[in-house]
Structures are given as C-alpha cells and as structure tokens.
Symmetry: C2
Subunit: 301 residues, 2 copies
Amino acid sequence: MASIEILDVTARDGLQNEARLFSTDEKLSLINRAIVAGAKRIEVASFAHPKYVPQMADAEAVIAGLPIETDVTYIGLVMNERGVDRALKTSVHELGLVAAASDTFATKNQNQTRDSSVAMACAMAAKTRQAGRAVNVTIATAFGCPFEGEISEEVVLDMVHRLFDAGLTEVALADTIGVANPWQVSAIFERVARELPQLSMRAHFHNTRNTGLANVHAAIQAGVKTIDVSIGGIGGCPFAPKATGNVPAEDVIYMLDRAGFQTGYDLNAVIKTAHWLSDVMEKPLPGMVSRAGGFPVPVAV
Amino acid sequence: MASIEILDVTARDGLQNEARLFSTDEKLSLINRAIVAGAKRIEVASFAHPKYVPQMADAEAVIAGLPIETDVTYIGLVMNERGVDRALKTSVHELGLVAAASDTFATKNQNQTRDSSVAMACAMAAKTRQAGRAVNVTIATAFGCPFEGEISEEVVLDMVHRLFDAGLTEVALADTIGVANPWQVSAIFERVARELPQLSMRAHFHNTRNTGLANVHAAIQAGVKTIDVSIGGIGGCPFAPKATGNVPAEDVIYMLDRAGFQTGYDLNAVIKTAHWLSDVMEKPLPGMVSRAGGFPVPVAV
C-alpha cells in the first residue's frame, strides 16, 4: 500500500501561539510521546527571536534534550541568517526555511518582502547544505493572505521554481490561515507536479474553516507525499490574525489508516498523546478522533 | 459554473437528537431563515412515532405552518406505512424513505431488517408516487455501522440497484456515524455512477471524525450533485451511539463558493442563521465558518 509521510509540527507550530508557556521538559515529554506513537520527522523548535516568539526561546535546550533516535529526523525552523547560525550550533538534523507569498505577511512574519524571503531562503539553503545539514522550505500564505486576500497561482509557482532552482528539493505549500479549498489545492499541486516532477511536495494546512482534511485528501490525490500535522490540532500563527490549529494528527492518521495508507503511526498512541496534551493544556483540543474514537469500535449501548 | 444542490436537513436530522425541544414556532422561524439564506429543498419534519422521536411530534403542525414558496421543496421523512399515511394527509411535497445497510441498525432505527427496509422503501415509494408526490430514499450506515462495523460495498450496491429498479430516481448514501473516508466515498459513488448513470446521487455525511468535508469533496468529484447539510452542523441520530452533527451548511457552502460552484445560497445569511441558532440553543455549534468568517475578509489587527 502507498505510504504517506507525516511531519509532526506540534512542538513548533502547535505551541508557538499558545498563551501558556511550555517548559523545556514538557516539550521533551511531548516529543517523546510523539516518537512512541510513531513520529519519524518532527519540527521541534523555531529559532525565531525570543522577543517575538517567546514560546520558542528554549530552542537550543529542547534540541540538547532530544532522545537520540537513529531513525527520527528533527527539524528546526529558521527565518534568517541569525537563525541559521543558531541552528547550526545545535545537533538539529534539518532546517526548515520560510518564504511568504504575500508582501504584507512576509513583512509582519519575518520583516522581508516576498522576493527577499525567496532570496533569503535560497541563500540560507546554500549555507545549510554547506554545513552538511538537510533543508526544506515552506511557502506561507500560498492559498490566501489575511491582509492581501487571494494569492495568484502564478506567484506561488514562480516561487516554487526559484526555490527548486536554488537546490531546495522539498517545498511545502502552506495554508497559514485556513482558507484553501480542495479544488484549489488540487489545481496548484497538480501543476507543481507537472512542472517539477522531481520535487518532493509537502502540504501544511490549518483547519480554520473545516476544510483541512478535504485539503489533505486533495493534496494526496495530486501527488503530495508529506503532510504536516499537530497532535490535538493545536496551533496558530502569532502574525496571522484568527489563524487556528493545524490539521489534527489523529484525524489525518485515522483517515489515512481507514483508506489503507501506511503512515507508520499507532493511532491509539496518538489519541493517548492528544488526551495527555489536553490535560496539560487544561482545555479540549480541536482533534475529533480523540473524542469519537477510531472505527470499528465496540460501542456500549 | 457547475451547480451543487444543497439539501437542508437542519429541522429534521439537526434537531431530532437535541435534548432541548424546539417549539413549532421556533422550527418555522428556522426554516424561514433557511429560505431567506437560499434554501430550495428542505427536510422539514419526520413522521417517526412521537414516543421514539419526541422532537418530531409536531410534524403536521410544522408543515401546516410552512411559508408557501413556489420554488422551495419540503420533504418529510417516513419509515413505514403509518408514516406515509400521515405524510400524505399533509401538504408536504416529497417523502424521504430510509433503508439501512446493516441489520442491527435497521432493527434499532426502524424495527426492520436490511432486506425488509429495502422492501418497505420500494412499497412506500410506489404508494407515494401513486399519490402524486415525489420521493427519495437514503441508505443509512452505508459507510459503516456502529454495531456491525464495516459494511461491504457489494451490499450497498445491491441495495441501490433494488431501489433504482423499484423506480427510486434519487438515492442518498448516508454516513450515519461519521466513519467514511474520502477514498471509500470516491470508490462507491464512482461505482454507482458507472452502473446507474441515470440515478441522481445524493450524499449525507456526519462530521464525527473531521472527515466530513473531505467526504463532500470526494462525493462531488465522483459525480454527486446533492449534499445534505445542517445549519451550524447540529445533529445526530437517537439510534446511533456517539453520532454527531451533519456537515455544517456554512462550511460546505463556503468551500463550494470558494471553489466556484453555484449553490444559490448567500453565505453571510447562512452564517447569520447559524449565529441565531446558536443563541436559541445557548451553546456554540460545530460549524467553523460561523466563527472564522468567510474569505477574503478584512481583518482588524
């Protein structure tokens, strides 16, 4: 059966917008539980400036405390050269870069324009590869911007081409504010697959308007092989008003399990981790399979 | 642009499982608001026995109080001959019949077996047509049963064929407990479309495990032209443990609007109705676009 790679962004995109600060130990506990549940690729921290993203201030400490698993890849997010320099001093395996499809969002998120975010990502990718580390890039607001509205497919395709030409072999399109619809997702990923068949396509969706799993379905149908998720569906973006959580790990894994895809995850262990996270955060989380259970399930009546 | 018909089941499937009893006037207010928002086909009541489904005890009164709109079709749900007799004494335009794909669910829901539910639907369809009214049928638990687990595609296809052969020109497949996945949805509807191209296919999804809109997307891709929704995403089934709400009207309409389909609805009016319903029910409802707003939206920052 076909495999889909799940990229767990709980400890980064999941936590970065939460008012409650997670301690380093709590983050490490979360990451350890994700690994027990089957996570093989995890975004563990962001090297953003602590003044702007205080949740991520302990990036170095988190990475120093990670379990040494030979088959798990840890990713740290970086926005600029200072972030790359910090990341390369740690043992993190891979760096995640960010370009933004709208000038306004690029300015607010990383004090760059769209073009300078692409140029920065290309330069940082070269530097990262030179240091012997893997690298990927995410194009934020690829399906719509909270400030500028619609983003043209041409603009996104042009960015993908420039990033690919600079040697980036994995590019994610991110629906930062949860406005993508599955027909739009199909159209753009099918076009990327057609124009750049060698590129590894990744998809990053937020479930702000209930279309998150529809977009995952459309992306996979279009050839996307890696899906970003957060356990419990937590998350948001400090610089995108009203952005809500990532697509929930347990819901995506449930859907893929049911459809016969291999994800390498144990759904019950993911659900248990979501329950643990909900207890730690003292609130219900958006993930639905954590509440409803999988299927078939014995039901007491 | 392609059109998708939205069938509003709020006043029937939406309300039937709610602890709070809606008055006839409240139901009529709900239905009137749905019509203002663009509803053209509405399931307004069920002729179930009031002992089993007390929420629907006022079916006749609701139908007597409906606004006379020349372009709106009102549907009443019936399970048996007694229901048909009651319905035919009212002015309801169309009857909705129910067959069930699992024996256990058929027994609990309507005191029939799978086979007898099909036979009953065929007989009731003949009687309804003879009385000059339109008729449709829904196959419950078509994607999985809370008691029996997986339901085979063969079983469902066989039921569809028998119902079509008996003159039923619209058949819905219902995911009564929200366990369908979009690949399963594609497979079965594509097969129905191939074997019975003259049949009008309708889809009825519950969003119990976050796959509701993915299933809507898959169904439409497979040729389904009518989607059941409830405003606010309220709903459930008294005879299906843990069943939660229908796919939310506002979220489905938002997704279809964004993708360029015609639904005939005014999204803002649907959102307003969901807010009104939430106020009446004194709780937040599952629909997400009612909270997040449409797109592009001006965002205060």
